[in-house]
Symmetry: C2
Subunit: 252 residues, 2 copies
């Protein structure tokens, strides 16, 4: 059987530590094609670049790994990877791995996440896709404790696949890990979302910031609970956003 | 009873025709606060601005309407509107109306849409929220045939509210409208997503484009079917992305 082609991307840029860790994690499973943003594109959700063309550049090429930097968003990177017909690649990725993100993407943050935007795009292209994140924003974050668990999840997905249109949002806590929990998205709320500041020309300006509140802190089946209690959270994420409950009752 | 405070935003910019139409549509229902991007921010999904501060500017102020231009994405605009403590406003919006978008946001395009990013953000702030789009990209699009239907939907949502965390994705066809249909998101696929071009310096570059395919063209309960058959589609959109079906079967 042909080795799978594994697309690796992220939102912290092709130069981040997290993507290097993910490349190393992916290599034993197949040929690795990296197409990742040329700079940090955090919180880009599923944003697309529509007002200018994308450019890309091959940064590195060795046996089993090609690393390409792209001027687009994480979602652009995935779209481009599915469209590229590079010599010696010339086929579509069989799986998309996004991350490892420096910072959590649990609860409603899955919606803003560029890491998860890329995984969602993989699912829209009908291949199994996983976004990986670690609850540590440091550029020098230590990912080593997460790797055996992330490896297990990749193995599972390569063997079992995932239902069409569904991807996984995997988050890992800092420190010792007790195991993996399959979780729902905790309902959460951001508040105090801006810090006021001033430009040199005395105009008011506002930096996005904020405090996050888990609104069901007692519930033990959420990603927030898992992460607070030393577990890796795995949220199955759907790309059909339809609320089927309301679909049956809404009438005009 | 106090008149509701209606937040109006969009992704085609505060200067677009669609947002003017929505302002006029909203005015009879309450006080209107417009916070919309200072330039076109299409396909921004739920992207946030995290690497620079936001600035805003009041463009117009008259009885019952204030219009503010903001340097951020549609989602930033909604966040800012919930944080602003403007004199004579000083309260949070009771409803978020986004659009009217110049172009459809049906099927999987709900995921990329900045119009829907703003509506989703309203839902995350726990207020009823609606994104409106017309299947016509022209800057001079004629919205007049949609207005009585959009008015009915706003009335319904103001009276009935929506379940927490759910918003509506409303799309209207061009030409005569037969009625309103509550729909699920059609499964769709984009292909041929890039047009190759060259920079003046002979580097290859790639413009996002593509052909959309509705993958269940026979199904009569999708938004794509409704739009193709002269109906307005109303998709209830959830902000909990968890796939509850896979949640119960996935095991590690």
């Amino acid at each position: 059987m042909k080795r799978p082609l594994i697309l690796v991307t992220n939102d912290d840029s092709v130069y981040s530590k997290g993507v290097s860790e993910l490349i190393n994690l992916a290599r034993p499973f197949g040929d690795v094609l990296v197409v990742a943003p040329d700079r940090a594109r955090s919180a880009q959700s599923s944003a697309l670049t529509v007002t200018r063309p994308l450019l890309y550049e091959e940064l590195r090429r060795e046996e089993g790994v090609r690393v390409i930097s792209c001027t687009g968003t994480p979602t652009d990177c995935v779209k481009l990877a599915f469209s590229l017909q590079l010599p010696e690649v010339n086929r579509k990725p069989d799986i998309v791995l996004s991350g490892i993100n420096h910072g959590a993407n649990s609860s409603i943050n899955v919606i803003y996440s560029g890491t998860m935007g890329a995984a969602i795009e993989g699912a829209l292209h009908r291949v199994p896709s996983i976004g990986f994140s670690l609850c540590d924003h440091s550029p020098q974050a230590d990912f080593s404790h997460t790797l055996p668990f992330f490896r297990e999840i990749i193995e599972y997905v390569l063997e079992q696949k995932l239902p069409q249109g569904v991807c996984l949002n995997v988050n890992a806590p800092m420190g010792a890990i007790k195991g993996i929990k399959v979780c729902r998205q905790a309902p959460g709320l951001w508040s105090n979302e801006f810090m006021a500041s001033q430009t040199p020309f005395k105009r008011n300006c506002f930096w996005l910031t904020g405090s996050f509140t888990n609104e069901e802190p007692q519930a033990m089946d959420t990603d927030e609970w898992a992460l607070s209690n030393g577990y890796i959270s795995v949220q199955p994420v759907q790309t059909d956003l339809t609320d089927y409950k309301l679909l049956t009752t809404l009438k005009f």
